[in-house]
């Protein structure tokens, strides 16, 4: 299956709806461990991207760069910056291309994960959004079928969140809460579960 800017536009529609739906839940999860702005970051960013959507160029690199910039413009919070970083990494790879094969997606996710790790200097296994992306990249690495990949991604992201729930947060504002964070979801992982689920349309 081949993905184009039209596929991107459909994903944006689903993602924006998902973020509006989860606005309160993400703020609340972040509020329990941080400054309670994660829902704000995601809805603001996705609204800006929605505004851009009709005018996105066919060049997928340029289109994703525009999406990344929407995040850097609307927020200085960690998650917004990480999202922009991941999107920019993918944009660089796709520069000049008007389509991409489904089979290339796992590598793009892995590339985003790596760029975000370089930006935020967190370890894998640290109970952050990196673990969500890592799980998705690994679970889908060898798949080539769109449906199978969507199933695997949605499952992996949820499993990663379940697995990490019992661990202590090691990064960002949540870290100062120490043991208290055991049993609580990382807000950034919660958001990534919603994102992947919406993109995968599962």
């Amino acid at each position: 299956m081949t993905l184009t800017v039209e596929t991107l536009r459909q994903a944006i529609t689903r993602l924006t709806a998902a973020m509006e739906r989860d606005f309160e839940a993400l703020n609340a999860a972040d509020g329990a461990l941080g400054d309670g702005d994660l829902g704000v970051t995601m809805t603001r960013g996705m609204r800006a991207i929605t505004d851009l959507s009709p005018s996105l160029p066919d060049d997928l690199g340029q289109a994703l760069l525009a999406c990344a910039q929407a995040f850097t413009k609307t927020s200085g919070s960690s998650y917004g910056t990480l999202m922009a970083t991941g999107l920019m990494a993918i944009a660089k790879t796709l520069r000049g291309k008007v389509s991409v094969e489904v089979a290339d997606l796992p590598a793009l996710v892995a590339g985003a994960r790596d760029a975000m790790q370089a930006r935020g200097k967190a370890e894998l296994g640290g109970k952050t959004v990196l673990d969500s992306l890592d799980a998705v990249a690994r679970a889908t690495a060898t798949l080539r079928d769109a449906d199978a990949m969507a199933d695997a991604a949605a499952l992996a992201v949820r499993q990663a969140q379940d697995e990490m729930r019992g661990k202590i947060a090691t990064i960002g504002r949540a870290r100062i809460f120490g043991e208290k964070t055991i049993g609580m979801d990382d807000p950034g992982m919660l958001a990534m579960t919603a994102i992947i689920t919406a993109i995968a349309n599962r």
């Binding site: 400054d35 910039q69 850097t72 413009k73 609307t74 927020s75 200085g76 919070s77 960690s78 917004g80 910056t81 990480l82 922009a84 970083t85 920019m88 930006r119 935020g120 960002g172």
Partner: protein
């Protein structure tokens, strides 16, 4: 502590509106994000640009230090929150006169990620940039993990010295080297007597008893080294100097400058009382004190307390420290 404000959401934008209205000869808003402030009179063509930024609530840090022989542009976020990468990138675009831009800011996760990202963004504009990150607060991590320390009032010395080097026409690598040398030569420690209130939070960031103080306080209410009974000024100053001199011992003949800084509410009268002990300790170490700074240089709005920043000078740093500068909050002639 009570505040004079309107809707807390508008705090930073209203503050900047007043700030630029009062000082049009010094500061100007730039771009359309509303959060980038630049020099009213831009630096000369070919001068290296220096950009800083971070959360609001620390005046004169950051935007107050925009001026001749100091900074060229700043991006500022909401109170104690990082500005966005796009705002930082705008500040960098404004500061660039073709000679590249030094990003000079404090060691905070959000600021680092965003300034890194801003660097990626301005790559598209062919702007060369470097970064020096201040990590001067000795209370925030042991010496072995010095890179993890917070950036506090040492910024003021770094702004001044790097700014003078840029004004003197040094190129980006030189300005960066000198800024890094200034950053490496700074050690700070703070003591807080009361908290401050982030407007959108509406209540003090931390609470502390009427007879308590917190040693090792940062500039956002982060926990410190110990919390204990409030001590006399001379004892507070003595312990703060102990910690600075433990981390950066002085030898006879060393030349230093010291910043005795109010965190906000503490009045200059009390800073002068502290300075007696500070100066006595520097004298006892055999050091010569150059251009001591006493006042409100890096604050946390209405927090009560003080910080000391010690900088060890070589001839190069001293020359740039004592070179002229000018902004609405500080001028050296």
């Amino acid at each position: 502590m009570k505040k004079i404000l309107n809707n807390p959401v508008d705090y930073v934008d209203e503050m900047l509106a007043g700030f630029t209205a009062v000082h049009p000869e010094h500061y100007r808003l730039y771009g359309d994000t509303g959060r980038v402030v630049v020099r009213a009179t831009p630096g000369a063509k070919g001068k290296v640009g220096i950009v800083s930024g971070g959360g609001s609530g620390h005046l004169p840090v950051f935007t107050g230090y925009i001026g001749t022989g100091l900074l060229d542009a700043c991006a500022i976020g909401d109170v104690f929150s990082s500005p966005s990468a796009e705002q930082m990138a705008d500040a960098m675009r404004a500061a660039d006169t073709g000679a590249g831009v030094l990003r000079l800011y404090g060691n905070y996760g959000g600021d680092i990620m965003n300034f890194d990202m801003a660097g990626d963004l301005v790559e598209f504009d062919d702007i060369r940039c470097t970064a020096v990150i201040l990590a001067d607060d000795v209370a925030s991590a042991p010496k072995a993990e010095a890179a993890k320390r917070r950036g506090v009032a040492g910024m003021v010395y770094a702004f001044k010295i790097a700014g003078a080097a840029a004004e003197a026409g040094k190129d980006l690598d030189e300005v960066t080297r000198i800024a890094q040398k200034a950053a490496d030569a700074c050690r700070s420690i703070g003591a807080a007597l009361s908290s401050c209130t982030v407007p959108q939070a509406g209540k003090p960031t931390f609470s502390i008893g009427e007879d308590e103080m917190e040693m090792g306080m940062g500039i956002h209410g982060e926990p410190g080294v110990w919390r204990d009974k409030l001590r006399p000024a001379d004892a507070i100053a003595g312990e703060m100097m102990d910690r600075l001199l433990d981390d950066m011992p002085l030898a006879k003949g060393d030349r230093v400058s010291i910043l005795v800084n109010s965190l906000g509410a503490t009045p200059p009268e009390e800073l002068y009382i502290l300075y007696r002990t500070v100066k006595a300790r520097l004298d006892a170490a055999g050091a010569t004190t150059v251009m001591p700074l006493v006042g409100r240089y890096a604050t946390s709005m209405e927090m009560t307390g003080a910080s000391f920043t010690l900088i060890k000078l070589d001839a190069e740093l001293e020359a740039y420290l004592t070179a002229p500068c000018d902004c609405a909050f500080w001028s050296v002639k």
